[in-house]
């Protein structure tokens, strides 16, 4: 069984592949265009693209190198949703903890004074 989210993470684990995705987020690009900013050989870019394609993150209309690659955002949305759920929960928790710490610190100071 293929676990989609884990496949996505594995594909994203490489900085070059994240760079390729960031580039494709600006618009479709050919393999040549993708190779340029990273100073990579075409076979290396193709190898990374294959991993991204297997994870469903990138599609290419045809195998030919001059066909533009296209970012598929759907798998990334799962990652974003996962992170967002934690972000919402912990952000409000931390904000409230911070406010409570002001009180707790004040209470301790008062307790010390009364001693």
């Amino acid at each position: 069984m293929t676990d989609q989210l884990s496949l996505t993470f594995a594909a994203l684990a490489d900085p070059t592949r994240r760079g390729i995705l960031a580039r494709l987020a600006d618009g479709d690009a050919t393999v040549n265009e993708l190779a340029e900013p990273f100073d990579l050989t075409l076979p290396t870019v193709s190898k990374h693209l294959k991993v991204l394609q297997r994870a469903g993150l990138v599609t290419q209309t045809r195998k030919a190198q001059w066909r533009p690659c296209h970012l598929e955002p759907a798998p990334l949305k799962d990652v974003a949703d996962w992170v967002d759920r934690y972000r919402r929960m912990w952000d409000s928790r931390f904000e409230q903890l911070d406010a409570f710490l002001v009180e707790l610190a004040r209470k301790e100071t008062n307790d010390e004074r009364q001693r």
Binding site: S6, R18, A25, A80, F94, Q96, D98, F100, A105
Partner: protein, 173 residues
């Protein structure tokens, strides 16, 4: 604060949470507070303290039972006045004041999806950095959590790509 923590230049400011994905099952949250860690840890240690900050904004902690020691159980019920209630439970695994706190976390509405939260408290010049690594116990549990009532957020994926993925280090575990 140890040397490695002070080398992490990205999250040294007080007041803003950072979040990053550590692996396909782990998320790390980090936040710095302008208080000594003894105090930050203490805020986690008693029901009358926990009930002041733990629930989501606008909700109350309706009940808060906790046996704050390794192996001790905890159960919090969160709700809005006159509204729906949600119960969470777990077990304290490690209680090491004022350094470290590890507990399991389970939403009773979704039994079986267990998360382990490992919180470390580090202090530097009177400020405390709280780091929580939240680890789902399985891929199935994570996906069940994702499938359940996740708001179809309008998360602008592209905008957040870098932020989200900056810390991914691969399936290291």
């Amino acid at each position: 604060m140890n040397a490695s923590a002070s080398q992490q230049s990205d999250t040294r400011h007080v007041g803003a949470m950072s979040i990053r994905v550590r692996s396909d099952l782990e998320i790390e949250m980090r936040r710095t507070f302008a208080f000594p860690r003894r105090l930050v840890f203490e805020a986690h240690s008693k029901p009358e303290y926990i009930s002041r900050w733990w629930g989501p904004r606008g909700s109350e902690l309706i009940s808060c039972d906790m046996d704050f020691r390794p192996g001790g159980a905890w159960r919090f019920v969160v709700g809005k006045p006159g509204g729906q209630q949600y119960a969470f439970r777990g077990e304290y695994k490690e209680v090491v004041p004022p350094e470290r706190l590890v507990y399991t976390f389970e939403f009773e509405g979704m039994p079986g999806s267990i998360t382990v939260d490992a919180i470390t408290f580090t202090e530097h010049e009177g400020h405390t950095t709280l780091t929580c690594v939240s680890r789902m116990d399985s891929i199935e549990a994570r996906d069940a959590m994702l499938a359940s009532g996740m708001e179809k957020g309008a998360a602008e994926t592209y905008d957040r790509l870098e932020e989200m993925l900056g810390g991914i280090s691969g399936n290291s575990e």
